[in-house]
Amino acid sequence: MVARLKARAPQLLTAGAIAIASAAVLLAQPPARTVNGLQVSVKSVEHTAKASLRDCPPGTNTVNAVQRPGDEIAVVTVDFKVMPDFKPVMMKRPTATAADDKVYNTSIQFVDVGSVPEYSCQFVYRVPQGTKLKTLQIEGASFDISGLESK
């Protein structure tokens, strides 16, 4: 029994590490909230050199935003679920606020937000290199995303 456990130790350690990492990501995620009849869950923040410009819900647009000197692109991934009390509504583009309180706009627009029951959107923010985002604002609801930024 002990020998069998010893043999499986690397796998168990890996599984444990994955579980801890997943738990850490889950803990960092702000709680889901309902906005305009949509359940909104912020999933991640990534910094990248290039990002797809696709509306929300996303189609398959082929145009990308690319990094310019001194800039980087922060991509905030948000899951949406259409709730039973949803009523069609025009929604403003979400904004993101950085640690220094500067507000950034995205070019990603909400288009037909009730057209599919569940979807994931990536909001693209062009920010100066090294910028850490603090909050995401969607229609007056503010989500703390500071825990999703890598340290």
Binding site: T60, V63, A65, V66, M90, T106, Q109
Partner: protein, 278 residues
């Protein structure tokens, strides 16, 4: 070039999505895929990038070096050259009194990009002047490409609201200048088309300075905002949702476009008869 069929179909959203696409959309998607693959291959050969690395873009000089590799100039209008290097085909004659819808069907088709752009403007609650401007903003590319904002505005000016013509004329300028607050990014496709080190000519920069303080700045800006998001090979669009907007804002001449003696009538006739030698 070898096509990774599975990756290509997956990239389009799967077999069901491909089955629903028109032949033209499939051809465009394939061409785009092949161009991307070709670009990646060429770049990798030049040691510019490795698989999975950010795309690199040609310089203005490299793009100019390709001029003498083509039997036509890049600025030629779409009705005057064959698709994908093929010979041109006979085109269906226009009706005696052609309408804007006839031009959409017979000369601007498939017009996917402008239809997608106008659809987005409509779905995001923009004004009818902007929806119309989005619908018409690139149609003149069938006639001519350089300075298409000015040519396009001139083509439509006798028939549409002043704000729509203004938006069409100046979207050409504003597309080179990002405006994050308005929701406009500088797209990677311009690096591809113009070169990564491209600087807009002085008249474009002067026009931009003038536009920034113009009370109608947002009219052309909103055309550029919708422009970026209208390159979706899977989008299903048609001109039908815009019939009412056209009916309310496009003054269709009873003689038909090209025969109403307007300042742009000759441009419509040229589009109607592109095989005319003189």
């Amino acid at each position: 070039m070898e096509i990774d069929r599975r990756a290509f179909i997956a990239g389009l959203g799967g077999a069901a999505a491909v089955a629903g696409m028109s032949d033209e959309a499939k051809a465009d998607a394939l061409e785009h895929y092949m161009e991307d693959q070709l670009d990646a291959g060429v770049a990798a050969q030049r040691g510019q990038t490795a698989p999975g690395q950010p795309e690199t873009f040609q310089t203005v000089a490299e793009i100019e070096a390709q001029i003498e590799t083509r039997p036509y100039r890049r600025g030629v209008g779409g009705v005057f050259v064959g698709n994908r290097g093929q010979n041109v085909k006979k085109i269906e004659p226009m009706p005696d009194k052609p309408s804007i819808q006839d031009f959409f069907r017979l000369r601007f088709a498939p017009a996917n990009h402008v239809l997608q752009s106008a659809t987005r403007a409509m779905k995001t609650g923009m004004s009818e002047e902007i929806i119309l401007a989005c619908l018409l903003h690139d149609c003149v590319l069938s006639l001519i490409k350089p300075d298409h904002g000015w040519w396009g505005a001139q083509l439509f000016e006798p028939y549409i609201p002043e704000k729509s013509a203004f938006a069409i004329r100046y979207h050409q300028t504003l597309r080179f200048f990002p405006d994050e607050e308005a929701g406009y990014e500088y797209p990677d496709q311009y690096y591809r088309i113009f070169g990564k080190d491209y600087t807009p000519p002085q008249y474009i920069q002067d026009t931009y300075k003038w536009l920034k303080n113009h009370k109608w700045y947002m009219e052309p800006r909103l055309v550029t905002v919708n422009d970026l998001y209208a390159f979706d090979p899977n989008a299903k669009v048609s001109i039908e949702p815009f019939e009412d907007v056209i009916g309310r804002h496009f003054k269709s001449p009873k003689e038909g476009l090209g025969f109403d003696n307007s300042p742009s009538a000759h441009m419509w006739r040229t589009l109607a008869r592109p095989d005319s030698p003189l």
